[in-house]
């Protein structure tokens, strides 16, 4: 059984889709998105999106890395295998720093990439848009506004009229093949 998933409008240029996104956002839609071959500068503001939260993942990743590095060296060189080398103290934050620093960056990087995937709910290989033949141009040179049917303000006729009024080249329904 396939049911309608969303209405999709196709545009040729970033300027056109920018204007269209402004209108859709102005109408108060929530479950909608803009799809483009590259990130369009200024689109976040037009869509009314706030700052991305990836930084938190990076921060906690980095913090974990630093603490892990320091604790690991403390455990290994001061606690578990305490051998005095050159009459120096068994543990000091200075000599432990380079390794802890590298660990900070390592886990911070994993946090950034992992955070991006988690926030984007990726990987997702079964998205209805991926099954749409026309949508394949999104990674080439076309721009799309997609409004999901589950949106509270969605109305088959009104939404279509709205998109037609934005100068879309092509409008079609996207099916969700269950």
């Amino acid at each position: 059984m396939s049911k309608p998933f969303a209405i999709m409008a196709e545009y040729e240029t970033p300027a056109e889709i920018m204007a269209a996104a402004k209108k859709v956002h102005g109408e108060g839609y929530q479950k909608w998105d803009v799809h483009s071959p590259f990130p369009i500068h200024g689109m976040d503001d037009v869509m009314g999106l706030d700052n991305a939260k990836v930084g938190w993942f990076t921060f906690f990743g980095g913090l974990t890395g630093f603490v892990t590095g320091m604790v690991m060296i403390y455990f290994m060189n001061k606690f578990d295998y305490d051998v005095v080398v050159g009459g120096k103290p068994l543990f000091s934050g200075f000599y432990a720093f380079p390794v802890a620093y590298e660990m900070t960056i390592l886990l911070g990087a994993f946090g950034s990439l992992g955070g991006m995937f988690i926030l984007n709910r990726l990987p997702r290989h079964h998205h209805p848009l991926l099954a749409n033949a026309r949508f394949a141009d999104v990674t080439d040179d076309k721009f799309y506004v997609v409004i999901e049917c589950e949106d509270e303000r969605y109305d088959e006729n009104l939404t279509r009229t709205l998109l037609e009024g934005t100068g879309a080249q092509h409008i079609e329904m996207v099916e969700d093949a269950q």
């Binding site: 040729e12 240029t13 970033p14 300027a15 889709i17 998105d33 803009v34 799809h35 483009s36 071959p37 590259f38 990130p39 369009i40 500068h41 200024g42 976040d44 869509m47 999106l49 700052n51 991305a52 939260k53 990836v54 930084g55 990076t58 690991m72 060296i73 290994m76 060189n77 578990d80 295998y81 051998v83 080398v85 120096k88 000599y95 432990a96 380079p98 390794v99 620093y101 590298e102 960056i105 390592l106 990087a109 950034s112 990439l113 955070g115 991006m116 995937f117 926030l119 984007n120 990726l122 997702r124 290989h125 998205h127 991926l130 033949a133 394949a136 999104v138 990674t139 080439d140 040179d141």
Partner: protein
């Protein structure tokens, strides 16, 4: 009477507006960029690729053969002996790891500095980084002698219940290099996701054109593989928002990382007490040298690549010129460091230090020193002339000299500092053996095999970023930016 003549001449014409050169020539549409880059991956490889791959593969196998011989016999097959106990293995390690630094500089530091020209070259440079670090990683692994115990480098629980000593810069190196490799790989992969999606979608569109069953099967398998690795990317703006933030953060993390990696490599030398190694200038001097050598290698690879794949409109002469300027700047820093080392050796008043440096320039290894000086200090100065910065074949020749010079720099640092110990009874002359030389030559085979596979199977230019810097990508330009061809968004 003479009133009019005395008046100063006022020029009335408006000053000419300086226009930036476009980053993609001839105002190409977005679809053209996709076609040009993804076309390489989809099409059949030209004959030169097969020839180059075969040669590289054989050279790589030679490398593995010699490594096998080394493992079966022992490090005695190398030219190492008292007093030079660090020879080509360390030289090659530092050489390769340095090469990698240009990739991260281009992808991270130039990104933070908003140098938009980086978009055409960052993918290839990052790939080069990863492959160079792989080549570098071989040497510390095999030089330990009993290679089956190389895992002792890592802090892993073992039967002797001992842990590594974290005061050693050699251990810092293990962490720095492995972190560098991992983070570079993550950064590279992240940049690839939208482009892999492009190839996935193109395969889907071309599925109908497949006629034979075999073609259909290949198309299906490729769709599946590119699909898996593109993570279901659909170009959603809600995704782009997180993606761009994560990319910025990764760039911000990679920048201190790249500076730390070669600093830590330099600590391997600088933390010792040996005259010629024990200098505080080493970290910045090594980092500048690394960037210098890396840009040399980027140009060595990119000049043939852009010609063979007809990418001159995306990797323009302007890109080459800007890279030449980086080479000139870092080459000058390196030259300054050479001079400053000598000055401090004299000014420091330590006779052993001064001797080490005199011996470096005029001792038995004078030839290596002067090869280094002529390649690293003199050759980049040719780029003061515009002609030499804009003539690809000439840049290619200079880039080869840069590669040679930077290898010799590490040779000079390692070998000349070691070969004369404090007592003349501990003096010697180090020469490599056939195994030393051919193992190193073999790593170029490994490097080229990986690089050729990269251009064969992955988009060698960052498609989405190049699209993003074209005038058509500017949402504020009327008609998609057609009236802003010259200005565009830079």
């Amino acid at each position: 009477m003479s009133e009019t003549a005395a008046q100063p001449q006022v020029e009335t014409h408006t000053p000419k507006e300086l226009v930036r050169q476009p980053l993609v020539l001839n105002n190409r549409p977005l679809g053209w960029i996709t076609e040009q880059v993804a076309g390489i991956v989809e099409g059949k490889m030209p004959r030169w690729w097969n020839v180059a791959f075969t040669i590289s593969f054989l050279v790589m196998m030679m490398c593995f053969t010699y490594i096998g011989y080394l493992i079966l016999t022992g490090v005695g097959v190398w030219g190492l002996n008292h007093p030079v106990a660090w020879g080509w293995a360390i030289v090659n390690f530092v050489f390769w790891i340095g090469i990698g630094h240009a990739g991260t500089l281009i992808s991270a530091i130039l990104f933070l500095l908003r140098q938009k020209w980086r978009t055409s070259i960052n993918r290839t440079a990052e790939a080069m980084t990863i492959f160079a670090v792989i080549c570098a990683g071989i040497f510390p692994g095999i030089h330990v002698g009993r290679i089956w115990l190389a895992w002792w480098l890592l802090p892993l629980p073992n039967a002797n219940s001992i842990w590594p000593q974290f005061r050693s810069p050699l251990l810092w190196d293990v962490f720095a290099v492995s972190t560098y490799f991992t983070v570079s790989l993550l950064f590279w992969y992240m940049g690839l996701i939208p482009d892999l999606a492009t190839i996935r979608d193109r395969l889907r569109k071309n599925a109908d054109k497949c006629t034979t069953g075999c073609e259909k099967l290949i198309n299906k398998v490729k769709q599946y593989l590119y699909g898996i690795f593109s993570m279901g990317w659909i170009g959603s703006n809600r995704h782009w928002r997180n993606y761009e933030k994560a990319y910025l953060l990764l760039a911000g993390l990679s920048t201190p990382l790249v500076l730390s990696v070669h600093s830590i490599v330099s600590f391997d030398f600088a933390v010792s007490q040996l005259p010629g190694w024990h200098t505080t200038i080493f970290p910045p001097y090594f980092v500048a040298g690394a960037v210098f050598s890396g840009f040399g290698m980027v140009l060595t690879l990119m000049i043939p690549m852009r010609a063979l794949f007809k990418l001159e409109e995306i990797i323009t002469v302007r890109h080459l010129e800007l890279m030449c300027k980086v080479i000139m700047a870092t080459g000058t820093i390196v030259g300054y460091a050479y001079g400053m080392e000598f000055f401090i050796a004299w000014y420091g008043g330590n006779p052993y230090e001064l001797y080490a440096f005199k011996n470096r320039a005029f001792g038995p290894y004078w030839w290596a020193y002067w090869i280094m000086i002529s390649c690293n200090v003199i050759s980049p100065q040719l780029f003061w002339f515009k002609w030499s910065r804009t003539t690809p074949w000439f840049i290619f020749v200079v880039s080869i000299f840069v590669n040679i010079g930077m290898w010799f720099e590490r040779f000079v640092i390692v070998v000349t500092s070691l070969h004369r110990d404090y007592l003349p009874s501990s003096w010697g002359y180090y020469s490599p053996t056939q195994v030393d030389i051919l193992t190193f030559v073999g790593t170029f085979g490994l490097f080229m095999v990986l690089f050729l596979l990269f251009v064969r199977y992955l988009p060698s230019i960052c498609i989405f970023e190049v699209k993003g810097v074209t005038p058509q990508a500017d949402p504020h330009a009327k008609e998609g930016g057609a009236d802003k061809v010259e200005g565009g968004v830079h």
